[in-house]
Structures are given as C-alpha cells and as structure tokens.
C-alpha cells in the first residue's frame, strides 16, 4: 500500500504531504528528511526506486518538483506468507506511472503545474489527491471523474459563501 505521498521542491522543502498511516511527528520528520535527502542526491541515470527502512520509495522528478511515493508491504499478506516480498509491495513501475497520471491530472486542472500552484492551491490539491488515493490505494485514474469532483467542491464552496477567495 501507499504509506505517504510527498511533493518536494529541489531545495528539499516539502510542499505537500499526505500520510496514509499514522506516524508520530518526530518520526515522520526524521523519515521524511532522510528520504528527501536520498532522493535529491540521486542522479538522472540512477533508477527511480530506493529502499529505506522497510519502505520502497518510488520517485519522479518534474523540473524543480519531486514527487515521492512511499510504499509498504501489505501487512496481512505478509502474515500469511503467501507471496514473496516483491508481491507485497505496490508494483514499482505502476506507481511510477501513477505519479505521472497524477501530474497529468494536475496539469489539466491548473495548466502546467508548478511549485507555486501546489503552495497556493493547497486546498484543491488536497481534494484532488483525495479523489485519486484513499487509504493508501488508488481509487480512480479517470481524469474527468476526478476533476468533476473538484469542480463540485469549488462550485459549492463559492455558492455557499462569497467570502472564500
């Protein structure tokens, strides 16, 4: 399952994070900064995966933005011992392309997405992410479906009160 999704600029500052497992803040900050440091120090010629403390991290870089997805073995599958370790994780290339469709969806919503969009459209990015990932699993990859929900929120938000701007 997906444990967390991070959007990070090339200075290593987290611009958005979403965790699907509860983690103490201290632990979370330590983990996040170590993973970001590792991702940022890797070259273009290296693969998009890294293993760190039981997480398989899949990341992709778009200009100055890093999208980092941390996945973990599914707990109950592991207990059964049915599958070998690669099966318990999310499919790596699948996740890599999931990052891409996430970016494409954001692009369709905001033009070409950039760091500032994510910072200043905090709410919408959260809503959008919630339409694509829930509880650590992919819900939907249909851009129209996803964006329809965002539209609704924006419409309803502005209808009920004009102050929200």
């Amino acid at each position: 399952m997906i444990s967390f999704i991070l959007m990070v600029n090339k200075q290593g500052q987290t611009r958005l994070s979403s965790y699907y497992e509860w983690m103490d803040m201290q632990e979370r900050v330590a983990l996040e900064s170590e993973i970001i440091r590792k991702c940022l120090s890797r070259s273009e010629l290296q693969c998009s995966f890294l293993e760190y403390r039981g997480f398989k991290v899949i990341y992709r870089r778009y200009a100055s933005l890093f999208f980092i997805v941390g996945t973990k073995a599914d707990f109950d599958v592991r207990v059964k011992g049915i599958a070998s370790d690669s099966d318990n994780y999310e499919n790596e290339l699948g996740m890599l392309e999931f990052i891409h469709i996430l970016v494409e969806t954001m692009d369709r919503w905001a033009g070409s997405i950039c760091e500032l969009d994510i910072m200043y459209q905090l709410e919408q990015v959260h809503f959008l992410l919630d339409e694509m990932v829930m509880n650590g699993y992919v819900i939907d990859t249909n851009k129209s479906n996803i964006l329809r929900s965002i539209d609704l929120i924006e419409r309803e938000g502005s209808k009920n009160e004009g102050m929200f701007r």
Binding site: R42, S86, L93, L96, E154, M163
Partner: protein
C-alpha cells in the same frame, strides 16, 4: 479555479520567504499563538458546547484550519483546534464540511478521544438518502442529489483515512450497505470499497467471506473501471485474510483480465497511453498470485475455453508480446504489467509449465543487461524471486557474469538487488567464485552497503564451504578488509564452527592462521578477539610447530594489549589463563598482567584477573584443570545469529532470508557428521550413503576401486603397484590385524609393514614399522595417512616419512633397517571403514612403487567389554530392536571348510571376546551354537554436559552346523556401529575356518 483565503496566502508567502529553519519555526510559533487565541480568546467570550468559538465566521474558521493543516504538513506538531475541525464537519454547508473532513483525515487519528463527538455526524452523512436516479442514470437535480452523494464521499474518504476501532464498530454495517446497495452511484461505491478495506484491515474477520463473496461477484460486473479498481483493492485485502473463501472468484477475475489484455476492450478515459488501465491489470494479477495452485493439474496444452486455458493465454500474451515503445510512459505501463505477470509465474512455481518459466527467465536475462536502470533494477529483483523456484536456479546462474556487472553499478539500489540475486544463485558450485568476487568488491564498496555485504558473505561462506578452512580464511579476509562492519555474531560464529568441528585439522589450521594474523602489530581488533579465543582453546594443537610455542602465542597476543578495549582484554585474560595452565613458561609472563589488571576500572577485567590469579590457591589442581579445559561444543541452534540479523534488516519474506534458513547440502552433511558425534548415535543415517564403505570393510585392504588403481599403476612401466596375486593374502593379513594387537600388514620382496596397536577407551596408539627387505636402500619413502573426520590423529615418525602434502623429499630406508611411524588417535564418532595409508618409494634402480593399504583401525578397536547378566542382556537386546539399530547377515562357509564343530565355536567365542573385545554373556547361550556379547564403543566426543559419548553395542552369533552357515546379528544405538561390528565379526569368523 478559485484562489485561497488571502490570510492563508500571506502566511504561506511569509514561510516561503523565510531564510532559515529558525525563521520559519519562529513565524509558525507566532501564527500558532494567534490561532490559539482566535479559537479560545478567553476573557468574556463563551465557547459553544462543543468547544468551538461561535463568534468565528465560516471564512475565518476555514482559513485557520487550513493554516493548521499547512503547519502540520511542514512537520510541526498541531495539538489544538480539534473542536473547530469538528465544528466544520458538523456544518450543514458543503464548503465547510469538505474542509472539515480533509482536516480530520490529516490532523487526527481514529483513536483520538474527540472522535466520539463526531460519530453521529459521520453516520448521518454516510446514510444520507442517495439521490434518486431518473432516466438514463442522470441525476434528477443538480442540488440535493449530487451534494448528498458528495457528502457521502467525504465521510467515506475521511473514515477510510482515519479508521479507529470505535468508528468501525459504529459504521461498518452502513459502509457495507452502501457498497452493495443498488442505489449507490459509482462515485460512492468506489470509495465505499476502499473504506471497507480499511475497516477490515483494522479489524479482520469483520466480514464473512462466504456471505460476502456473492456480493463481490455483483460488484465485479460493474463496467466502471474506477469501481473495479477499488473493488479489486478490497478483494485483494479480503482474499489475503480468507483465501479459500474467495477462490471461487478466479474465473471472474480471469474474464475481466482477458477482456483487458486480449480484446483491449476498455473505456477511452481509462486507456493510459493506449494500455487499458494498467493499475487494474496489476491488481487482477496480484489477486491471482494468492492462488498458487490455480493451474495445477489442468491440461494446459489444450487451450480450451475453460478459465485456466484463458489465463495461460493471457499470461503468454503479456509475456511475449510486450514491446518497448517510444513513449517511456507506455513502456513503463506495459512493463509494469509484464513484471506482475512474472510475479504470477513465480507464485505458481513448479506447477507452471516449464517453458513459461524458461521464457520468463530469458526475458529477465535481457532486462538485467539493459542500460535503463529501472528495468534493470526490477529485472534483478524479480530474477531473485524466480530463481528460488525448484529447478530455476540453473537458468539464473547463466547470468552470473551480467549480475556481477550490476554489482559494480553506481546506483546503490541496483547494487543491492544484484547482491541479493547473487546471494540467491550462490551454491556449492559457484560459491568460491561468487564469494571471492564479493570480497573483492567489498574493498571498493561504499559504507552504505558494506554491513549487508559482510553479513551475506559470512553466511554464504559458511553455507557452501566444502572446506571449512576456506570459510575461516574468508572471514579473516572480511575482518581485515572491513573489520568495523564485522558484527559480533559473525566472529562468534567462527568460534562456534571451529569448536564444533574437531574433524580434520580445522582447529589446528584456525589456530595457526590466526597466530599469523595477529603476529603483525597492525591488525583489526576483531582479529585479536578471534585469535585470543581460538589460541586459548586450540593453541595447544600448534604449540609444537616452530615459532608457535605457548610462549610465542602469548607474545603475539599480548602485543595488542594496550591498543584494545576492555571487552577484548577480557577475552585475552581468559586465553592467558589457559596458556598459563598449559605451559609452565607462560606463568611468569601472565602473572604480572593479572596482578596489574586486578585493579582495572572495568569490572569484568577486574573480576576475571582476580579469579584466575587466585584459582590455584582456591581449588585442587584437578578442578583448575577442569575449569580451564577446552569449551564443550556449542549447542546448534536452528537459526544462527547471522540469520536473525538478516531477518531484522530484511523482513520475513526477503529472498535472502528464505535462502539463509534453508540448509545447503554441505551444511546438511556437516550437520549429519556432527549429529553422529553428538547424539550417541541416535541419528538416522541414510542407508544408501554407505554401500561401498561396507564393501571396503568386509574386504579389508584394497577394494574394487583400489584394484583399478593398482591395475592402472601396473600399466605404467616405471610405477609398480601391488601385484594382484598378493591381494588375498593382504586382505587376510588386514583382517587378522583387526582382531589382534600386532602383526604384519603387508609383505613382499622389498618391504615389510608391521603394525602394533593398543587402545584405551577412545584413544589408540598405533605404531607402524616399515622394514626394507630389498638389497639396496629405498629412497623418497613417504607415507600418507588419510585423516577421516571421525578420528583425531596426531602423527610423528622418522624425519621426512610422513607425507604432509608439501612435496617433501621423503626419507630413505637403508637395506635391513626400518622407519617408524607413531599415530595417536582419538575417535570422535562411530564409523565403519578403515583409514587408508598410501606408501610410495623409489628403488635405486629407479622403479617407483605405490602401495595403497589400509590401517587396521576399525570400530571394534575402541570397544570395552561389558559384562551383563542374562536378564539385562535380553532386556537391552529387545529394546534395541528396529531397523536402524540392527544389522544382520547370514554367511555360508565355503564347501571345502572343515565344518562347524564345538571346537570351531570356541574359536568364534575367542574372537568375540579377545578380538572384538566384547564381554561374553554366557547365560543367554543355552547351546554351544550361539555366542552373545556386549561392549561399549568409546568416543572422545563430549555431549552437552561434557561427558564422553559412548555407544552401547550387542552382538549375537548363531551357527547352523547342518547348513554350514553362521548368522551374525548386531544391535547398537548407532547404525554405523552395528554395521561395523557385523562386518568385522563375519570376516573374522570366516578366517577362523581356515
């Protein structure tokens, strides 16, 4: 797109402009204080019943909550404002509710006590009347319906993200209902599915598979791929908990998969670069991996219409028709599916048609040689899985060279996978090569991977060492290259293995090697520790060698004293005590060290010194002797500490862990040898292992294989072997010697070999004399004695006589003189053959002679008679009944023999008593035609309590004078003992006839 509240934007801009982490956090402190004040102004302001501040406007409340969310995302603890979040959730306005739920998911956890206050609201939102569908599924109005729907979604999403036991108990019925209800829209269903997954994860067995499976069938009919994707996540979760209950769904899953793969039938929005939803395909394939037996027993070749045939078609299509595309996204998506299909083949294991497994191996073989790092990484990782299937490792071994290239890749992720794969494909055949490569790479490997490499090298070297000396060398190399990464368990293991393998010359070798390793002043502290321990235990084995006396052992160790920490010193102190005990000359060297360290600040060092120093005064010499004796063999745990370490770092299902915990063949053999030694011979032995040994024993000296060698030797004109006509006499001489203390083992015109042997308990002293009967001197005379694992042998003899494999000249024996060899042996385990002794020499005429002989050193030499009364004998005789412990053989005497009479029987009884050293038990032999006896086979091996291991042995010889035959039955605690005694008895009885 609407923009955010200005205050929020300003705050974000401030943070963005922060020059340092300190500036950022002080800005956040200010903001938190401000928000706290807004939420609870104190003074006259009254808070609402739920703890929120009613005077805040909707705009303000949302703005502050978003600020808190942002602060939280940046990694700061946010421990207030929960009441305001709940107020938003309770709001009737969708705009407020949506913010409330997002904040709820991010800021709170399900177990938080404040959750209790919001259960009712969530429940109400969940069960909102679903919108009514009218005409073609379009919503009746844009108002209530869509909004209710969306509200339901928000509640589901939040519930899924936070979970919590209380929430689950309150909601799971509703969530299940929403999921299967016909009235729910796709939007709601897909979220309900994932929400339910979260609920079942937190509290398994919430849903009974038998009841729920039919509902899943319904859900799988959905044409909406978003619903299918979510339902598949749910199904994978459920099926991994109750696998059997969901097996009935396999045909449905195969159907969906084949529509996507074979027909490429998929709604346009779900095509990802022309590939039908790769994420759904992955999930479908993952589901099938839960059923490794799915295709077992089906006739796959037929293709047919059944789902198995279809499944095979699908997998075949994915495997062989995936191509590299110009678009990296297309390629990645297709390869994602391909790798998942290979994972399915891995799950099927040996039930999968071999051509598919081979196909997969070939594809992966290509992948691990491409430059694209992602594909290479996954290729290595998947190959490590595939190679673990029985019969696939050979295919993977072909790629060994390619894998070694990736081991040197610049990317740590790739290197790790390569290391893992090498670990998996390593076996007895290629262990030396792989381990040497790994050791060579260790020199340049960077710190991040060193510890892992060291651990894996240590495990491989132990697992696949055909010669444990190589193992000891490898670990020493590890310590010298990368000593800081050699953890304690690794060197403890070396000590354990050396201690537990007294066979061969491992202990002496280890002692000598470590002596050399610590002789240099610069060596790693871990080396000092191992050396201290090993020399303390086994230093005596090398004390006779030049330059390695006890005193010198002390000096090489003590030169490190001032450079090592207290833990190492403690080990050194114990070794010194042992040295001082063995060698008089060490005592004055050791005493001052003890005297000085008695005042050490370290308690352990202090205690050891004080105790060792006063030991001699406090105890009797025997007790001291006992205390400082060699350590008994270690108990062999099922999982070594190294495996546990690996388990810790890699988790239960890692390929490496599985591999490490399965014993290799070599290990099993070693374990078996040890078991023989340890278990008083209770270990069952594979019968087929021994047949030729039995032959050898019965025939005495040169058996079939040796005969061939002799013949080969004869073919070579300058090399002379044992003439064939001499062999029967030789066998007889050998057999005679087995039961008599001295005699001639071999004699021809040139050479006479005499043997004198005597035994006490497990120890024996064998003198061998080589007399020159030739007219001239025999040169380059060498004797090579085989040192089997079950014997500890010490040899000495005339200078140059003993062939130690170093190609020395050998000695010369003048005419009418003799050379001598003395063997001191101790038996450590039951055995049933005799050690070989090869004699080679040259005459002055230039003829080279080569005689393969055997020493008459058989199991019965180590017997000690036991006198039993008839009752006790019969009781033991009965208790040892059973196939493993009993050996029986009937032998007919040759027709020309004198026949069996009472005189013959007295000779037989004499053989049993004096030759085989059994105690005769006359009471159980009512007639003169049977002879019964009992004895103990003594070994020098110790059991866990430090007592010598002995094997009780019983024998019965029954004669049938009419048939001119004997029947020999032996019953012992150990199959090898039974066999050996039977063989020696038969041969001796036969000889007595002549």
């Amino acid at each position: 797109m609407s923009s955010q509240a200005r205050g929020l934007n300003n705050f974000i801009t401030d943070l963005r402009n922060a020059k340092s982490k300190e500036e950022e956090s002080s800005r956040i402190e200010v903001e938190l204080a401000k928000i706290r004040k807004k939420f609870n102004p104190g003074g006259g302001t009254k808070l609402a019943a739920d703890g929120s501040n009613p005077s805040l406007s909707s705009y303000q409340r949302k703005k502050y909550i978003w600020k808190l969310v942002y602060i939280h995302v940046l990694g700061y603890e946010v421990d207030f404002g929960h009441a305001e979040v709940l107020a938003l959730v309770r709001s009737k306005k969708y705009g407020e509710k949506s913010v409330g739920y997002v904040a709820l998911s991010l800021l709170l956890r399900g177990s938080d006590p404040v959750m209790g206050g919001v259960i009712d609201t969530i429940k109400k939102d969940l069960t909102m009347a679903p919108m009514t569908k009218v005409g073609g599924g379009k919503t009746s109005s844009k108002g209530g319906g869509v909004k209710n729907d969306a509200t339901q979604c928000l509640a589901l999403c939040s519930l899924a993200n936070i979970s919590g036991l209380e929430l689950i108990q309150a909601m799971h019925v509703e969530v299940q209902h929403i999921l299967v209800s016909k009235g729910s829209t796709e939007q709601v269903k897909k979220k309900a599915a994932l929400c339910l997954l979260r609920l079942t994860r937190t509290s398994p067995n919430l849903i009974s598979g038998r009841i729920f499976a039919p509902h899943v069938v319904q859900l799988l009919q959905d044409k909406h791929l978003g619903v299918l994707t979510s339902v598949m996540s749910l199904l994978n979760g459920l099926a991994s908990q109750q696998t059997e209950e969901y097996g009935v769904l396999i045909p449905n899953i195969v159907h969906i998969l084949s529509v996507l793969v074979l027909k490429k039938d998929c709604a346009r929005e779900y095509l990802y670069y022309r590939t039908p939803s790769p994420w759904l395909q992955i999930k479908l394939l993952k589901f099938l991996q839960l059923y490794p037996d799915a295709i077992e027993g089906h006739d796959i070749g037929m293709g047919g219409n059944d789902h198995v045939g279809q499944l095979i078609n699908v997998v075949t299509r994915i495997m062989f028709e995936t191509e590299v595309s110009d678009s990296i996204n297309k390629s990645n998506a297709d390869h994602a599916i391909l790798f998942e299909a290979v994972n399915l083949i891995v799950a099927w294991g040996t039930t999968c048609p071999p051509e598919m497994r081979e196909g997969a191996m070939n594809i992966l073989g290509k992948f691990i040689s491409v430059r694209e790092p992602n594909i290479r990484y996954l290729g290595l990782s998947t190959m490590a899985q595939l190679a673990q299937i029985d019969g696939s490792v050979e295919g993977a071994k072909k790629h060994q060279a390619t894998v070694l290239v990736s081991l040197k890749d610049a990317d740590i992720s790739v290197r790790r996978r390569a290391l893992d794969l090498l670990f998996v494909i390593c076996d007895t055949d290629n262990a030396e090569r792989i381990v040497d490569e790994l050791v060579a790479h260790l020199v340049v490997a960077d710190a991040s991977i060193r510890e892992e490499m060291v651990l894996k090298i240590a495990i491989l070297a132990e697992k696949y060492a055909t010669d444990l000396r190589w193992y000891v060398d490898t670990i020493l190399k590890l310590i010298s290259i990368s000593g800081d990464y050699v953890s304690d368990p690794i060197w403890h293991r070396v000590v354990q293995i050396v201690t537990n393998h007294p066979q061969g010359d491992l202990q002496g070798y280890a002692a000598a090697t470590l002596f050399l390793a610590v002789s240099t002043h610069r060596c790693h502290e871990t080396t000092v520790r191992v050396a201290a321990y090993i020399l303390g235990e086994f230093g005596f084995l090398i004390a006779e060698r030049p330059g390695m006396s006890g005193e010198e052992q002390f000096h090489v160790l003590h030169q490190h004293w001032y450079n090592v920490d207290t833990q190492t010193r403690s080990i050194l102190i114990s070794s010194y005590a042992k040295l001082a005990n063995l060698y008089e000359e060490c005592r004055p060297l050791v005493a001052p060290v003890f005297a000085k360290s008695k005042n050490s600040v370290d308690v352990e060092v202090q205690q050891r010194c004080a105790e060792y120093a006063s030991m001699r005064e406090a105890f009797s010499p025997e007790a001291v002797e006992d205390l400082l004796r060699e350590m008994p063999p270690f108990e062999d745990k099922r999982r070594s500490a190294l495996e546990l370490r690996l388990l810790e770092t890699e988790g239960e299902n890692s390929a490496a862990v599985t591999k490490a915990s399965t014993p290799s063949e070599v290990e099993q053999q070693r374990a078996m040898l040890n078991a023989q030694m340890m278990d008083e011979g209770m270990a069952p032995i594979d019968e087929q292992e021994e047949p030729e040994l039995e032959e050898e024993m019965a025939d005495g000296a040169a058996e079939a294989a040796e005969d061939e060698k002799i013949a080969a030797v004869e073919a070579n004109p300058t090399l002379v072997g044992i003439p064939k006509d001499l062999i029967p006499a030789m066998r007889k001489a050998f057999s005679n010697l087995c039961t008599s203390p001295s005699g001639v083992l071999f004699e021809n015109a040139m050479l006479q070999v005499g043997v004198k042997h005597e035994y006490v308990g497990a120890q024996g002293r064998i003198s061998v004399f080589f007399g020159n009967l030739h007219a001239t001197a025999l040169h380059n005379f060498k004797v090579k004695v085989d040192q089997p694992d079950h014997l500890r042998v010490q040899m000495q003899g005339t200078q140059g006589l003993i062939d130690d494999g170093e190609g020395d000249e050998g000695c010369s024996i003048e005419n009418k003189t003799q050379a001598k060899m003395l063997l001191l042996v101790e038996v450590t385990a039951p055995f049933d053959d005799a050690p070989s002794m090869r004699i080679t020499f040259e005459t002055e005429e230039g003829e080279r002679h080569d005689y393969p002989l055997r020493l008459p050193l058989v199991a019965t030499c180590f017997m000690e008679p036991v006198n039993l009364d008839p009752g006790a004998f019969m009781q033991r005789w009965k208790s040892l009944e059973g196939q493993d412990r009993e050996c029986q053989e009937v032998m007919r005497l040759p027709p020309n023999s004198s026949g069996i009479d009472e005189e013959y029987m007295s000779r037989v009884s004499n053989i049993i008593v004096n030759g085989l050293k059994f105690g005769r038990c006359e009471g159980v032999d009512p007639t003169p035609w049977t002879v019964s006896g009992a004895a103990t086979f003594r070994t020098g091996a110790k059991d866990v309590n430090g007592n010598n291991i002995n094997v009780g042995c019983l024998v019965r010889v029954e004669a049938n004078p009419k048939a001119n035959a004997f029947r020999v039955t032996t019953r012992t605690l150990h199959p090898l003992c039974s066999k050996a005694i039977k063989n020696v008895s038969l041969v001796s009885i036969k000889l007595a006839a002549l």
